[in-house]
Symmetry: none
């Protein structure tokens, strides 16, 4: 799960990133609105955390732009302004939640999870597919009620595939979603191969009825037999 944090204060960023990474989110940051807009228009995020008090313009206008986009985004506003007015404005402009500073980090991660669940998982934290069940909150996988231990990347990849089952996923999108923007202008996808390989092996050994198929020259697709 990929999150964009738009926040100018370094200390605040640091502490939020830390807490989200502990929960196994992939976090990217933007320090101002310009950078934020760049990232939003090029990449795809599962959730956007937006501090509306930034130098360079109000976050509300960014929210407004977002609303105009075809693709709906999940946004949580974080702000020192705790006026009811701002909250209402934000939510009207399509934000999914609003969190006033100061807040507990536990609360932030809880809201993030909840928003993502609502938007991308239709409310369920556990996805069942064939004989596989995937708990998106606890990051655990069971096959025929037997636990299957996947490491971080394997889990991320599997959950991405599962929530896009039977759909073609090209390697650029996969790399972006799982590895983030450090893979910017690379066209070498060796690192994908080795993860796919291990994941396939584990799925097969556990008897899962899921198969990750390669689509030559294009990408991968999760087929559910």
């Amino acid at each position: 799960m990929k999150i964009l944090l738009i926040e100018d204060e370094a200390e605040m960023r640091k502490v939020i990133i830390e807490s989200l990474e502990k929960e196994r989110f992939l976090v990217e940051t933007a320090h101002d609105f310009h950078a934020a807009w760049d990232k939003i228009s090029t990449y795809d995020y599962d959730c956007i955390l937006l501090d509306i008090m930034l130098p360079g313009g109000s976050g509300l206008s960014l929210l407004d732009e977002l609303k105009k986009m075809k693709k709906q985004k999940s946004v949580i506003i974080i702000s020192a302004k705790n006026s009811v007015d701002d909250k209402v404005k934000g939510l009207n402009l399509g934000a999914d939640d609003y969190l006033a500073k100061p807040f507990h980090l536990a609360e932030l991660t809880a809201r993030v999870k909840s928003v993502i669940r609502r938007r991308t998982l239709e409310g369920h934290a556990v996805i069942e597919l064939k004989n596989v069940s995937i708990d998106m909150d606890n990051h655990t996988v069971h096959v025929q009620n037997q636990p299957l231990t996947l490491n971080r990347k394997e889990f991320d990849i599997l959950s991405y595939f599962v929530s896009n089952k039977n759909r073609l996923i090209n390697k650029t999108a996969l790399a972006e979603h799982i590895w983030g923007d450090h893979t910017d202008q690379s066209d070498d996808f060796e690192f994908i191969y080795s993860q796919i390989k291990n994941l396939r092996k584990k799925l097969k050994d556990s008897g899962a009825d899921l198969e990750i198929q390669a689509v030559y020259g294009l990408g991968y697709k999760l087929v559910t037999d």
Copy 2:
């Protein structure tokens, strides 16, 4: 699309060529002005990348010569000199764009594409002809809104024909443009026949209203019924 890169530093050449070839351009190089001039006067390029700081004379004089030619060329200047003066001089002498070193390779390819688009297609990256539409950026072709998959050479040939529709194209020019200068003094055009054949078949099978006609002893011509 054929590009001439005039640049003396080997490392610079290497990295630029790599990035352009990734975008499916056909790149040829000249290490100095003399060689550059030779190539320009014998071959036809869609875009010329010119480093004005070369041993053997300023690139500005070459630009000047170019301007005198009948046939307008698309030129992008790349230079370490980032003075406004040089930029102005260059653009006055007919360069289409100016890029100061160091630059992002992504930026270079973007500018090349944009210049080519501006010159050859009057602003559109997508050419529509009869019931066929050709996306020069994404290298895709659609016939009646159905995608038509062409491989690299087929696409190159089709786009060359389309941007020279109803005009006679002799085989030497075609070979030069699509295959580059490795076919210099060969008079064997078997490799063309094969590609033409496959392209024709695909066009016909997809129901495209385009026909590549042979003109006996001279070359080919794309006729639009």
